[in-house]
Amino acid sequence: MTTKTTTRLSLSTLIAVLAMAIATKSPAQAADLPVLQFRDHHFVPDHIDVPAGQKFTLQVQNLDATDDEFESNDLDREELVPAGKSITVYLGPLDPGTYHFFGDFHQDTAQGVLVAK
């Protein structure tokens, strides 16, 4: 396979992937999910039930005076939440189970779980 053929295939694949990436609609907000808050470097609530098998969004609000970071290795997410601000985290679809998250800047106190069911 020559360079030109490789390049054409790669560019075609790239265009297809980019088109698919932007064509998908954003997930709907699960109406009854509570807002996850950083409060005194703890998560409130520290346990949230979420729907399994579908995409959803989670609002994370930082009520503290300093920044923190919503991070989860189970969910593969790492997002800064500036002091006094809120962010939207896009998640799912998740298999049924328990997913840990933590505040990366206060790992000893900011711990929580999402339970997908």
Partner: protein, 260 residues
């Protein structure tokens, strides 16, 4: 803060202990922004070939990065390299600015998409001089079940009096990671370079390597280095699949992040 300094010193000691080099093998994620954090990174590789003149090419970097905005990650990189063969020296070859621009929020669409752009300014002189380089292209990531797959498609253009080719060079890289356990997960990866687009190299004249990789991430609190931040590592073995590729290569990466 003291423990973050200790983490940085450990990273520096690794840099001092190993042979210096310039890293070629690394898959860029569109989602790594590190806003509010400082990142220290070492990315290294060493190649081996059955022909002595093509063996023992080494590369080594020291990188310092952070997120400048919620969608822009930037790093400055110092790169050392040792050319293959005997009688070669380890030299500081390039200072590079690397930038990742995140175009989509993680998980919002079918795939996560970003644009990567770097400029490498050569700093070596004499027989070790090389071209200045501009590299750019998309970085795409997607979670499928318990796996994460990341693909890079990059173009590189050389500039300056020491450039060795004209036109754009096309390179690609891909990695699939099985998210079995955060501290240690297996993956596979591939790196290819077709050469300059205008010359139409046949397959055996293109670089192509593939192989397994181990990846992991630890919170610094888990290893007694403070209450914030994380350490990420990768260690991989690559096997050359074409005549133009080295017989095999080892690569490793260590990345420490901590909040400002």
């Amino acid at each position: 803060m003291r423990k973050q300094i200790i983490a940085g010193l450990i990273l520096s000691a690794m840099l001092a202990a190993a042979e210096p080099a310039w890293a070629d093998y690394r898959v860029v994620s569109p989602d790594e922004i590190d806003l509010g954090e400082m990142e220290l990174e070492n990315n290294s590789s060493s190649t081996y070939d059955h022909l002595p003149d093509r063996s023992n090419a080494q590369s080594y970097t020291a990188e310092f990065g952070t997120g400048l905005t919620p969608w822009w990650h930037s790093e400055i990189e110092f790169g050392w390299a040792r050319a293959p063969g005997g009688g070669q020296a380890n030299v500081l070859t390039q200072i590079v600015t690397e930038n990742t621009f995140r175009l989509t929020n993680p998980g919002q669409y079918w795939a996560d998409v970003g644009i990567y752009a770097e400029y490498g300014q050569t700093v070596a002189r004499g027989k070790y001089a090389g071209a200045n380089e501009l590299t750019f292209g998309p970085a795409i990531a997607k979670d499928i079940g318990h796996t994460t797959t990341t693909v890079n498609l990059f173009l590189t253009r050389q500039f300056g009096p020491d450039q060795t080719n004209q036109g754009f060079d096309f390179s690609y890289a891909g990695q699939t990671r099985w998210n079995l356990w955060t501290p240690l997960s297996p993956g596979i990866e591939v790196y290819g370079d077709t050469g300059t687009l205008t010359h139409g190299n046949n397959f055996q004249n293109q670089q192509l390597l593939a192989g397994p990789v181990l990846l992991g991430r630890l919170r610094l609190s888990q290893i007694g280095l403070g209450n914030a931040g994380s350490l990420t590592y990768e260690a991989g073995y690559l096997h050359g699949l074409t005549d133009a590729s080295p017989t095999n290569a080892l690569r490793w990466r260590v990345d420490v992040e901590f909040p400002f």
